[in-house]
Structures are given as C-alpha cells and as structure tokens.
C-alpha cells in the first residue's frame, strides 16, 4: 500500500472512531462513574487507535474495536481503584460491564449520535440558570442538596426543575426526530 493510501485509511479509521466518542464516553462512564476517569480512558483509547490503526480489520466495526479498547482500559482503571470498592459494588460492576457490552452496540452508538444533534438544538433553548443546573447535576456530579445551596432553592425545588426540564427536553427531541426516542 502506498503512503497516500495508508494515510487515507488511517484518517478514515480515526475519523470513524471519533464519531463514536459519546457512546465510548458512556461506556467508560457507566463503568467508572467519574467523568475525569472516563475521559482519560477514552482519550487513551483514541491514542491506541492512532498508534495501532493498522491492526484494525477492515471487515469489522470500528466502534466495536474501539469499544473493546475502552472496555479493557476502564477495567484496568477500575482494578487500580478496586481497593476502595465494597464487594457488593464490585459484583454489580461485573453485571454492568456485561450490560454495556451486550446493549451498547453499534446501533445504539449510532442512535446516540443522532440524539446528540437533536439535544444540542433543544438544550440550546434552555436559559442560563437551568443550563447551570444541568451542568452541576450531570457534569459536575453535584447532588440536589449541593445545588440547592448554590442556587438558593430547596433540594426538592431543584429536583422538580430538573425533572420538568428533562421531560421538556425529551419532548423536544422526540419532536425533532419525529419519534418517541429515549430522550
């Protein structure tokens, strides 16, 4: 294979891998429940893709390949922190790990890409304060109690706002996609 063809192949594989970043992040986050670690794992996986792209077999799915790398790296990271995890939680992780392997497949990953586009549009309509709540709750993993102190509302009020807005977002996404999707 000449150099130009090699570069073209590499770019195609790398591009495909990046397209599934949300699904890969979901995979890592579900296993680790920590955004920093999940992002590290996915970035590690992308580096592997960029270094080992020649190992990818053309007749297979790029997503499935990268997902295996993410899965392996997430388990590796989990092992490093396993000392801090109680037995019950450790047993649960084995089940969770199987669930993501079984169900977060290429089709779901593709679906997540579509959902993102719709959600970007719908979430863009949220006012700044509500967006702050979503960032706090989902991204910074702050509890409703912690958010209540920041936003000067009761924890129940925060829960209610999040619940209502989540429903509005789901309706908005459904409307955009013309389906009754997850969101």
């Amino acid at each position: 294979m000449d150099e130009a063809a090699r570069k073209e192949r590499r770019d195609r594989i790398v591009k495909q891998a990046f397209q599934y970043r949300d699904a890969l992040l979901t995979h890592a986050f579900v296993m680790l429940r920590d955004w920093t670690k999940a992002e590290d794992v996915v970035q590690d996986a992308f580096l592997v893709v960029m270094e080992k792209w020649e190992d990818f077999q053309e007749d297979t799915s790029v997503y499935a390949w990268v997902r295996q790398i993410v899965h392996f790296k997430a388990k590796e990271m989990h092992r490093r922190q396993a000392r801090e995890v109680p037995v019950e939680q450790d047993q649960l992780l084995a089940t969770i790990s199987k669930a993501v392997e079984d169900h977060l497949d290429t089709e779901m990953a593709e679906h997540q890409r579509v959902l993102r586009k719709a959600l970007e549009h719908c979430m863009g309509k949220l006012d700044k304060k509500v967006l702050e709540l979503f960032v706090g709750f989902y991204w910074r993993s702050q509890s409703c109690e912690a958010l209540s102190a920041v936003h000067n509302r009761s924890p129940n009020a925060i829960r209610l706002i999040l619940s209502r807005r989540r429903k509005q977002l789901r309706d908005c996404v459904d409307q955009r996609l013309g389906t009754a999707g997850t969101l």
């Binding site: 570069k7 990046f18 986050f29 019950e88 991204w139």
Partner: protein, 631 residues
C-alpha cells in the same frame, strides 16, 4: 424502588450495598431492564456532555469529528494545537496530530505576554485583565482548569489563589493558598509549583498540592501527594524526592518572640447549664473550636457558644438536640471544609445497637450546624481529619478499628477502607488513649493498656496513598518503662513539631504510681524511642492535653480536678511543669484551645459543683494571643 431511581443512584455513586444487589438482580434477570439502563445512561451522558459544551461555549471533539479529512497529513503542528488542554497530556505521533489540530479549532485561547495558555471554569483575575504571566487566578465556589504551554494541566480547586509565573517550556505557578492537581507531560518542558513553604519541581507526573495558611505559630502548611512519577521538593536548599503513592506535609513556622515567662491560665468564666435555661451541660464527650464558635458535645446535645462582643463572655448560641428516641449518644465531632461531622452511637440497655456519621453545614455567620445527611458507620469514639482535608478517620477502641471515609464535594462521606486489630483496642473510656496523627500526616499512633496484664503496647500505623492506614510496628510498654507491669491508664500525645511524643502511664498495682516519658520520633519510619523520663508532677493521669501551635507550651487536664500548664523546649523535647490551676473542681475531661483569641476551654465530666452533681464548662484566658505574637 423505581428503576430510574436505582439507575440514578448507581450513576451518582449513591447506591447502598443492598441497592447494589437489587440493581444487580434486576439487570441479571431482565434483558429489558438492561436495555433500559443503557438507554438511561446514554441520556445521562448526553445531558452531561451537551450541557457542559453549551455552558463553556466549546466545540467538543465529537461534535466536529466530521471535519477530519480536511487536515493536512503530517503538516507541522499549528500553534493552536499545543493549547488543547486534555489531548496533549499524551504522546501523540506527529503523523496523527493533524487530526487533533483541526479538532481544537474553536476552543477559547488567550495569548498575552507570551503566555500560551487557556483557562476554563469560573475564576477571577485578582489584578483584573486577562490571563498573563504575573496574574493571580482566584477561584471561589468552583474549580477552574488551566492549561499552561500545552503540557501542564492544572486543576485549580475551589477557594484557591495561584499566580502564573515562569516562561515558555519552563512553566511555573505560585500557590498562595488552596489546592492544585497537576498533570504534566514530560515532553513539553519543565514545571514547578512554588509555595511559601517549599518549591515542588516535576518533569512529568500527576500530583496534588494543598497550602493551608495557619492562624498562629505555623505560617503555612503544605501537603504534597504524588499519584504518578516523581516530584522534587526544595525546601530552603534541602531536597526531598517523592515517588508515586507518597505524600508529605511540610510546615513553615513564623518567627515569634520568646514566649517566656509563660503566663498562667486564668479562669474567665464558669458556665453551668442553668445560666442558659438548660438543666445541665452534661458530661463533655468532645470539645472543638471552629472559627468563632465553640462546640460542646455531650450525650444528648451539641451546644454551640459564641463570644458576646460587648462583654467578652461566652454565651450559648444554640443547641442541636441529637437523637431523641432510643438511648443515643453523640460521641465526637470534627470539622472539614466548612462542615461538621458527628459520630453518634445508639445503645439500648447498655448494648450497642448501631451508630451513625451525621454531617452538617456550618452557617458561617451564626455557627449553627444545619444537618445535611447521615450514613451508617462503625461505632466510633473519635474522628480525625486527614491532612488532605478530604478524608476522615473514625477510630473505635471498642472493636479496635479505624475506618477511612472520603468526603465528596457535597460533603457526603463514603467509607473506603478499614483497618482493624493490630493493637488499636486501647481500653474503652480512656479519653487520652485515642488515635494521634503526626503533624506531617505520615503516621498515626495509639497506646493500649490492660489493668490485668502487662501487655500494653504503643502501636503506629503508616498513612499511605489515598489516606489508607497500614500497620507499621509496635513497641511494648515494658521496653519503655523497663519492667513488666500492667497499667490502668495510658495516654499518648504528639508534639506539633513532629519530632517528639509523650506518654503518660498510671500503674495498675499499688497506689497507681504515675510515669511520664518523652520519646523521639523518626519522621521517616515513624519509630518511637525513649528519650527520657519526665517529671510527672502535674502531668500524671492526663485526660486530655493540647499544645500551643508553636509547640512551646501546653495544657493538660486530669481526672483529679486539675488543669496543668507546662513549657516545652521544641529543640530538646523536654517538658517543664508550670503549675496547677485549682479552679477546676470536676473531673476535667476535654480541652480545646483557641490560640487566635488566647482562650482555653475545659469540658468536665460529672462533678460536685456548688453542691450539685453537675458538669461545668470553664473558659480560661491563656495570656497568649496570636494577634500579639504574629502579624
């Protein structure tokens, strides 16, 4: 429980062990539930990522992935690429980097004064203007992410002040106060963090630094913990290398005038319950000063007192009636990051039922504790706060264990480790026999003794990465005193300078001869060895003891109704008994020192005060005030 509630608890790390098993059963038994869970998690992750992206106004990698083919293959790396914060912490082959370069377009980039940096999050520049060398970044309630030179990722934790210094490929920051977590790509260049205490240099590693400014004696305290690689700590020309998994506390003391002659503590106030309309103060289980508030913990109440500005008197500001049902006891409290943590034990008919760790937010204006949550915990009589200000140690002498809790950003403690046995089972009820943590945060010590057998030992534990404790070693008390004998009381205390420990022993036989020993401590191994027997007069049978923060003097209370004060030579470790203050008429049990205001608080056990069987809470003026000795 609804599925979604279980899923949410899982994703937010709030599942109890029972709920974890419930979720496991659900997912194992139902394929539909598994699919539902994955869909829920997808939604969760999209909510997080899209909201973050909109909030920061960023174009994320996934969102622009489609533009990749336009990148020039193998082209020189555009300058903007080196400013992408997270990707460059890895080694990226140049041939593949072009893709990343395009992905980075649209990120906020600030170039000023030759500084190649970007910063995300909520922050202020103390001097005004933009990010530049010499600027001081201040965070309040939230963290910020600073990328320097494309190879230093610095997470600036909340309530931190840090100044940007250095130059290209040799980045540097000055940490005034607060905490940084750093991740440095060794291929990018050098990086160092200066602090008031020491300078920490790295060539490629992940580590955390925290600087706490102390109100009195200690000018500043630096905590360094290395996660990966190595760092070199330069303290006034003396170098120390820390590897992965190692941590260290370094303290800088401020210069003070000679404290001699030591002033004698004077009784300022004796508080009986009826003064504030309460029946009795109750026996004191724990006593703490936090900010301008004094917290007095008894079985049924946490009462908090504040100084009335006009008269200078301590007055009852409020009380939290703890656990009304069953027979419940608040045992100990600790303060961490503006919150109070309390261990309470529930007993019925003198048998332990369960215990709880309750946490409160402290209202900074009134000092009032506002309950925020409760988790079950092992029965404990003592709480220690780790030097990283993120961990709690719950010590139980009854079942001989220390449980490690990590505290989340919202204040919720989570048990992550426990060490049991190994001599932690000092006799129940001996208030002096608790767990002591060295001022450098590297070791914990306790002493155990038995009335019936000569098996007493001093035990020490090593504090490792993440705050976990491991058994290090122990020495029999017989090797300290030179004879095989049983003790009915043993207490151990550490000097704040970290080089000395003191042990007070009361023999179980005869009239209960009292002994006192000074021991030297090796900061590296934690080993204690006998320095000298001390004059035990006035320092015998100690219930509680506190040093002034500079370690030059201290106070002790006894079971036989005395408050003693003593001097200490920080260079030799020698204690010199000062005198007894006889104003304490009860079995004095707990001490708390407010060095900033020169106040010493003494909480008593039952006593015969004024003919009544009451507990009295006494306030002494120490005659030493931080404001008089330091800036």
């Amino acid at each position: 429980m609804e599925h979604e509630e279980l899923f949410e608890k899982y994703l937010t790390n709030q599942l109890s062990d029972e709920e974890a098993m419930e979720l496991k059963r659900l997912l194992d038994e139902s394929d539909d539930a598994s699919q539902e869970f994955i869909a829920y998690a997808q939604e969760w992750c999209l909510m997080a990522n899209v909201s973050k992206q909109l909030r920061l106004g960023q174009v994320e990698i996934a969102a622009v992935g489609e533009v990749l083919p336009g990148a020039g293959h193998g082209a020189p790396l555009p300058a903007v690429a080196s400013r992408r914060s997270r990707v460059l912490k890895f080694s990226i082959p140049l041939v593949a980097v072009a893709a990343i370069a395009v992905l980075a377009v649209g990120l906020p980039v600030l170039l000023e004064s030759g500084l190649d940096a970007d910063i995300k999050g909520v922050y202020e520049i103390a001097e005004g203007g933009g990010i530049r060398r010499g600027a001081t970044v201040v965070t309040r309630q939230q963290a910020a992410e600073l990328n320097l030179g494309g190879y230093c990722q610095v997470r600036i934790e909340p309530r931190t002040r840090v100044q940007i210094r250095g130059r290209e490929t040799n980045e540097e920051v000055f940490l005034e106060s607060g905490e940084l977590s750093c991740n440095v790509d060794r291929r990018g260049g050098g990086f160092q963090v200066e602090t008031e205490v020491a300078t920490v240099s790295v060539t490629g590693t992940r580590f955390t630094l925290r600087v706490d400014r102390q109100p009195f004696g200690e000018g500043a305290r630096l905590f360094v913990e290395v996660a990966e690689g190595t760092v070199t700590v330069n303290r006034e020309g003396r170098f120390l290398t820390l590897g992965a998994g190692q941590s260290r506390v370094l303290v800088k003391y401020v210069e003070e005038p000679d404290p001699w002659p030591l002033p004698k503590p004077e009784l300022a106030q004796a508080i009986k319950g009826d003064q504030f309309g309460v029946e009795d103060m109750e026996a004191c289980n724990d006593l703490h000063v936090h900010g301008d508030t004094v917290y007095y913990v008894s079985d049924s109440f946490i009462r908090y007192f504040r100084t009335e500005p006009r008269t200078g008197w301590l007055v009852l500001a409020g009380e939290k009636s703890y656990l009304a049902k069953d027979t419940s006891f608040a045992r100990a409290i600790a303060f961490l990051d503006g919150r109070m943590y309390c261990v309470a034990i529930r007993e019925r008919r003198k048998r332990y039922v369960d215990s709880a760790l309750v946490w409160y937010d402290i209202d900074p204006k009134s000092g009032e504790p506002v309950e925020r949550g409760t988790v079950e915990c092992p029965p404990s009589e003592q709480i220690l706060v780790g030097p990283d200000q993120k961990t709690l140690y719950l010590h139980d002498r009854g079942v001989a264990s220390v449980a490690l809790y990590k505290v989340a950003a919202d204040g919720r403690p989570r048990k992550v480790d426990e060490i049991a046995g190994v001599g932690l089972d000092a006799a129940w009820g001996q208030t002096g026999s608790g767990l002591r943590m060295s001022s450098d945060g590297r070791h914990c010590y306790t002493v155990r003794s038995y009335r019936s057998k000569p098996d007493g030992r001093i035990v020490w534990l090593e504090r490792g990465v993440g705050g976990t404790l491991t058994f290090k070693n122990s020495v029999p008390l017989s090797s300290v005193v030179g004879e095989e004998t049983a003790f009915r009381h043993a207490s151990l205390w550490l000097h704040p300078g970290g080089n000395y420990a003191y042990i007070s022993l009361v023999k179980a036989v005869g009239h209960g001869e009292v002994l006192m020993y000074a021991l030297t401590r090796d900061p590296e191994s934690g080993a204690l060895s006998v320095l000298a027997e001390q004059d035990a007069s006035g320092l015998d049978g100690v219930n509680d003891l506190v040093f002034e923060p500079d370690g030059k003097c201290g106070y002790a209370v006894h079971g036989d109704n005395r408050l003693a004060w003593f001097a200490c030579n920080p260079d030799s470790g020698q204690l010199t008994f000062g005198d007894n203050v006889s104003d304490v008429r009860e079995d004095a049990r707990r001490l708390a020192l407010d060095a900033r205001n020169g106040r010493l608080y003494v909480g008593a056990f039952w006593g015969d005060a004024d003919g009544k069987n009451l507990s009295v809470f006494r306030v002494f003026k120490t005659g030493r005030k931080a404001s008089e000795d330091t800036e």
